[in-house]
């Protein structure tokens, strides 16, 4: 009975609290991301990509766009390039401004400085068991493309303090490093420069490595303004600048500017509608549970009638008997309630953790 009552209480409680936790966490994350610019397509996808580094396949925005936005002086502009993973964690190509924007602090080590450096989110570091001065290879996009791009070996320069957000999952690199991973640039290392055409002299390469010796040979193909970003985060200086940025993309056929708080509100509105449906479902479950409970109590009373009669005969008043049974029910509900509260609280904790793992 405790389990049944507990479950009846837990389900709507956990659903409500989890939904509230999602709403709060999503809302908080969105509130700190005033604007996002990206390729036209699904608004939800773009916002989730910008907030949680969810993969997005709907086109890119040129780096020159972020430069133009920055030079227009509307506010802080932060490039994002999220396309790859390293150890299963999302590789977030961005600029140093991202850390200030998200108020991320280093727990260990130092910020990224050179091509190939990366800073790990707290969970990423824990998952990968890596720390400052360790190495990390990006994941191969296509295991069977042996002639394609090689994984890039990154150098862990620092680990961020935990934030309880998607940032904990990230492997943060400079956007230029992300472009190298994507194959938009390359360097000339000893292996390549010494390679000959003789098959026996060909060196088997397993990954790219940026070293102090070859770093200055790395360059990009073509104009960097044309290189791709997956999104641009914008922190306008004020309402006027916000309007100007929105206006800039209003009639743009290939790019869109979104306000994540608005989009997330819309998303959560849909979730809340689903929740209302679930609430009706839970009401049904609760009613069923209530009827079952009434049946169990009635059967229990019948089964225990002789026991109650004995107690009555031994001097227990009917009032005391009623109080005893009421106390039993109260204990069941109280225990079930406490268990439901604890389980719901744990579920909300899990929900918050799960939200941060939407990254990737």
């Amino acid at each position: 009975m405790i389990a049944g009552v507990g479950l009846s209480l837990y389900l709507p409680l956990a659903a409500h609290w989890a939904a509230d936790a999602f709403d709060e966490a999503l809302g908080a994350r969105a509130a700190t991301t005033p604007m996002i610019v990206g390729a036209r397509g699904s608004r939800f996808d773009l916002v989730l990509h910008g907030l949680y580094f969810r993969a997005r396949s709907e086109g890119t925005v040129a780096y020159g766009e972020s430069t133009a936005l920055r030079e227009a002086g509307h506010g802080r502009v932060i490039p994002l390039h999220v396309q790859f993973t390293a150890g299963g964690q999302p590789v977030v190509g961005t600029s140093l401004d991202y850390f200030d924007f998200r108020k991320l602090q280093l727990a260990r080590g130092e910020s990224m400085a050179l091509l190939g450096d990366c800073v790990l989110g707290a969970n990423a570091a824990q998952q990968l068991k890596l720390g400052p001065n360790d190495k990390l290879k990006t994941d191969r996009k296509n295991l069977f493309d042996l002639a394609g791009d090689y994984p890039l070996q990154l150098n862990v320069s620092g680990v961020l303090a935990a934030t309880g957000t998607a940032d904990d999952e990230g492997v943060f690199v400079d956007v230029k490093t992300a472009w190298i991973i994507a194959g938009h640039g390359h360097g000339h290392n000893e292996q390549e420069s010494n390679a000959t055409n003789a098959p026996s002299a060909k060196l088997v390469k397993t990954h790219l490595e940026i070293t102090p010796e070859n770093m200055d040979t790395f360059h990009f193909h073509g104009d960097t303004t044309a290189l791709p970003l997956t999104a641009i985060l914008v922190e306008p200086m004020g309402a006027k600048e916000t309007a100007m940025v929105m206006g800039r993309y209003q009639n743009n056929g290939t790019l869109q500017a979104l306000k994540p708080p608005v989009v997330v509100d819309e998303m959560m509105g849909m979730v809340m509608r689903v929740r209302q449906f679930l609430d009706a479902n839970y009401a049904l479950v609760a009613s069923t549970m209530g009827l079952l409970l009434a049946l169990i109590v009635a059967l229990s009373r019948r089964l225990r009638a002789q026991e109650m009669e004995t107690l009555f005969l031994l001097g227990c008043s009917r009032g005391t008997q009623f109080a005893l049974q009421a106390a039993e029910l109260l204990m069941i509900f109280t225990t079930a309630g406490i268990l439901a509260l604890v389980a719901a609280w744990a579920t909300v904790g899990w929900a918050r953790d799960y939200l941060s793992t939407l990254a990737g």
């Binding site: 002789q306 004995t310 107690l311 005969l313 031994l314 001097g315 227990c316």
Partner: protein, 225 residues
């Protein structure tokens, strides 16, 4: 404790069962057996004597107290203090051990008087019925005879003046039957209590001071008015 019943009329079930006792006197300390066919009202009279139910008319006096004239609370208080019950099916609480079953009346009623310490009383009573080494045992590990002895202990612990036993040997084998009856009689005598027992076993009747046949009291085809 003396019992006096005067012009008692009791019915329930819209007249389907009717008990009429014009006059019945039982002396204090007597050993009385109630006999008769099933449904003749033997157990009903026990319940009337205990104040569990009240007659539609007439008087049920136990000791000097007209039990039927008491309030519900009064009858319960009287029952707690003065009457002990022993049932055919023992009516022990299975999830309690022997000690707690014996102490149950005291758990339910703080008004019960305490002679010496409770623990001492329990041990004494248990020793009288050869249960001294079973006090910590779960009741469902006891034999039928032992269980009935626990029930007798429970009934006798408050030192009641009236002991009501409803076929206490009905579920026992012959050997235990005799033994239980001996102990019941012995304890009743020791407690100077009046013993009223419902029984179907005519072989036991010569042990009683008096046998009351309920055939004459029961009116099975009472008309509904």
């Amino acid at each position: 404790m003396r019992i006096a019943i005067d012009h008692l009329e009791f019915e329930y079930g819209l007249g389907r069962f009717r008990l009429e006792i014009p006059d019945l006197q039982i002396e204090g300390g007597a050993r009385v057996a109630f006999v008769g066919p099933s449904g003749s009202g033997k157990t009903t009279l026990l319940r009337l004597l205990a104040g569990i139910v009240t007659p539609q008319s007439g008087t049920v006096t136990v000791g000097e107290v007209p039990v039927n004239e008491l309030t519900d609370a009064g009858r319960r208080a009287f029952r707690i203090r003065h009457i002990g019950f022993v049932f055919q099916d023992f009516r022990l609480v299975e999830h309690l051990d022997v000690r707690e079953n014996i102490l149950l009346p005291y758990r339910l009623n703080e008004a019960l008087p305490v002679y010496d310490s409770i623990e001492s009383q329990v041990k004494q009573q248990a020793a009288r019925l050869d249960l001294a080494d079973k006090l910590d045992s779960p009741v469902d590990e006891l034999s039928q005879g032992e269980q009935q002895r626990v029930a007798i202990c429970r009934a006798l612990l408050p030192r009641p003046e009236l002991l009501l036993a409803d076929e206490p040997t009905g579920n026992l084998d012959p050997k235990n039957k005799t033994r239980i009856l001996d102990q019941l009689f012995q304890q009743a005598e020791s407690a100077e209590a009046t013993l009223v027992m419902v029984t179907h076993d005519h072989a036991l009747l010569d042990r009683f001071d008096r046998v009351i046949d309920f055939t004459k009291f029961h009116k099975p085809e009472a008309t509904h008015q």
